[in-house]
């Protein structure tokens, strides 16, 4: 088994992995950039190694620094988490060359599935439905134009190396073909150093439904059911849930079978996710068409919703499988029960075009309630840095059914004060209240279509809030020596409410 694991990541996922290690008796080694010296994942880990300056490219994205950290700490395995180098075949290979267990699939599988064209070919050959499309060998403007013509409009131009919507263009009018091809190629080349493009027929109002799969070295491949991820903004997932309201039992079994087939065809190992598009116009129908979108060769941000409905520990299983042990489950021991929804709390200002927010968390209090799980790397007094992504926390609500889970998530978000940076919590609450979301009929265009109304605008302070702020200012004047004037008065441990009562007469 693994003895000492280096966690090549930061924030909530680093913490998540540290906890799995502690429960398994594995020593955890955290790494930190200069910006993270006192971060919670450092506090929690058994060992901590500095890997460089704040910018990710010089620390969390630096293969040599991470390998040196693993060597100096005497680690025998590396977990990449998600993001950063988690889907970088070169990093996985370098770990192997350094004699380290890489917690993830083999490097060649990462590389193969990293090319959308290769992945598309591979799963199609395995009988998994793919969107009608064309991959022209002739990558010239003319070659792509005729590919678009063969596929027919409306069409989608995609970058083979693409991700996050980069190098993607929608074409509805033949007149736009050439310009779209050129700009897509330009963007893809700039972003990935690879301008290879292909063409797919556009699926109108699709649902994003993905299937969690898991494979071990002993030939076992299982699925852990699906996650519904249609609520996304500019290809950024905002709310994920399981089960998906769009799936009938029949459709679910067809999609999970397809996902397992794709994983087998890829010679997959460890945890992975097969993303599908479901034709939104047919969602809810047993025979609704679905199409392979791409495969993510890592643990997903949204893995907790799967853990909640299956009551399984995905990170622990990742470590077991990486160590060569068999999966701790068989397919028929895995069940999907109840409903789980995850909301991602971001430091961003919806009223200002979702501009990301950086700054100190002056006040940060996580709600605690039965059925509420918070995965977060944040702490009161901590810094939301401009160097890393803006996700502060994941709030996961689990309940008997979807309506109860939505109600539970809503009351948790209303009870999650974060001050010092603006967050998307008011935005999330408006999504939860939206009739389309309530009905479970949202497609991937839902947020971009409704975004403006849901974003709202900064509200005026109502009288009762003003009264509280005035009380806080009063308390601050009363306690000049307080170490933490930012949070309105002396520490919790000196509360004497009777002396802290104020009355405000007002019209």
């Amino acid at each position: 088994m693994i003895k000492r694991l280096l966690i090549a990541n930061r924030g909530e996922i680093a913490l998540r992995i540290v906890r799995a290690c502690r429960e398994m008796g594995i020593e955890s080694v955290a790494v930190y950039s200069d910006a993270d010296i006192a971060a919670p994942h450092i506090v929690a880990a058994d060992r901590a190694v500095a890997i460089g300056p704040a910018p990710a490219r010089d620390s969390y994205l630096s293969t040599p620094r991470l390998l040196e950290a693993a060597r100096s700490a005497g680690a025998d395995a590396v977990h990449p988490g998600y993001g950063f180098l988690s889907e970088n075949a070169g990093f996985a290979r370098a770990c192997g060359d350094a004699g380290l267990i890489f917690v993830g699939p083999p490097p060649d599988v990462i590389a193969h599935m990293g090319s959308k064209i290769n992945a598309r070919r591979l799963v199609a050959a395995a009988g998994v439905p793919v969107v009608h499309g064309d991959v022209p060998d002739d990558q010239s403007d003319a070659g792509l134009r005729s590919a678009v013509e063969r596929v027919g409009l409306p069409a989608l131009i995609k970058a083979s190396a693409g991700g996050g919507g980069k190098g993607m263009r929608t074409i509805r009018d033949a007149a736009d073909i050439d310009e779209s091809v050129r700009s897509a190629r330009r963007e893809s080349t700039a972003a990935f150093g690879d301008g290879t493009l292909y063409v797919e027929r556009l699926i109108e109002s699709p649902r994003h439904v993905e299937v969690q799969i898991f494979a071990d070295d002993h030939g076992q491949v299982v699925h852990l059911f699906e996650r519904e991820c249609s609520v996304q903004r500019r290809h950024q997932k905002v709310i994920e849930e399981s089960p998906s309201p769009a799936l009938t039992p029949e459709l679910r079994s067809r999609m999970t079978a397809a996902a397992v087939a794709a994983a087998k065809a890829a010679g997959y190992r460890n945890a992975g996710t097969i993303e599908f598009l479901v034709d939104g116009s047919r969602a809810g129908a047993a025979d609704a068409p679905f199409y392979f979108l791409e495969m993510n060769t890592r643990l997903q941000v949204e893995h907790p919703v799967t853990e909640q409905v299956t009551a399984l520990d995905l990170v622990r299983a990742q470590l077991l499988v990486a160590a060569g042990e068999p999966l701790p489950w068989t397919q028929d021991s895995i069940s999907q029960r109840g409903h789980a929804i995850e909301a991602r709390v971001y430091a961003e200002d919806p009223a200002e075009g979702f501009l990301p927010q950086a700054g100190r968390l002056l006040l940060y209090r996580e709600p605690r309630s039965p059925g509420i799980r918070i995965d977060s790397g944040a702490v009161e007094g901590g810094e939301v840095s401009i160097y890393y992504d803006a996700m502060i926390a994941k709030v996961i609500a689990t309940a008997e059914n979807r309506d109860r889970a939505i109600a539970r998530l809503g009351s948790a978000l209303r009870d999650f004060p974060i001050l010092g940076v603006r967050t998307n919590i008011p935005f999330l609450l408006r999504i939860l209240d939206h009739p389309r979301f309530r009905a479970g009929t949202m497609d991937t265009a839902f947020l971009d279509r409704e975004g403006a109304t849901l974003a709202g605008s900064a509200p005026e302070m109502p009288p009762h809030v003003r009264a509280a702020v005035q009380a806080a200012e009063h308390d601050r004047r009363q306690t000049p020596g307080a170490s933490a004037p930012e949070v309105g008065g002396a520490g919790r441990r000196q509360i004497d409410p009777w002396t802290a009562i104020h009355r405000w007469g007002r019209e």
């Binding site: 803006a390 509200p459 009762h464 009264a467 405000w504 007002r506």
Partner: protein
């Protein structure tokens, strides 16, 4: 509304209970030199101190008036698409910033000519820093 009295009780570090007609609401408050933050029932409230407010009354971050394009937040300059003398149309991306793993395209508010480019690719700019200055479109 009719005259009522609210009772405010501090019940924790930055936590206030505001009671009115028997019904109480919890308000979380954080005070800074720049102003006050409050959170209640899922809503976020912010008021700026006088000088801050006046500071912020400048063109909204990322927008342009007096033809100045400024950085909405501390960020790295990912791409500079223009040079002095270029003519640009409304919506053209002049500069692409990156912060928190997100690209922030800075667009031209209208047809104009680039008079100054005040940033270099790769450089780290602070909030409200001038990125590009624009002049009237040459006839």
């Amino acid at each position: 509304m009719s005259k009522t009295a609210a009772t405010v009780t501090r019940v924790g570090d930055g936590v206030y209970r505001v009671e009115e007609d028997g019904r109480s609401v919890i308000v979380y408050v954080a005070l800074t030199s720049a102003g006050s933050w409050a959170f209640s029932n899922g809503e976020i409230f912010r008021t700026r101190s006088a000088d801050e407010a006046q500071l912020k009354s400048r063109p909204r971050a990322g927008r342009a008036t007096a033809s100045k394009i400024t950085a909405p937040m501390p960020a790295t300059v990912l791409k500079v698409n223009v040079k002095p003398g270029d003519t640009v149309a409304k919506g053209d991306v002049l500069v692409v910033l990156e912060a928190m793993k997100m690209e922030l395209p800075m667009r031209a508010p209208g047809a104009a000519t680039v008079t100054t480019v005040a940033c270099r690719e790769g450089e780290l700019v602070q909030a409200d820093a001038l990125l590009v200055a624009l002049g009237p479109r040459a006839a």
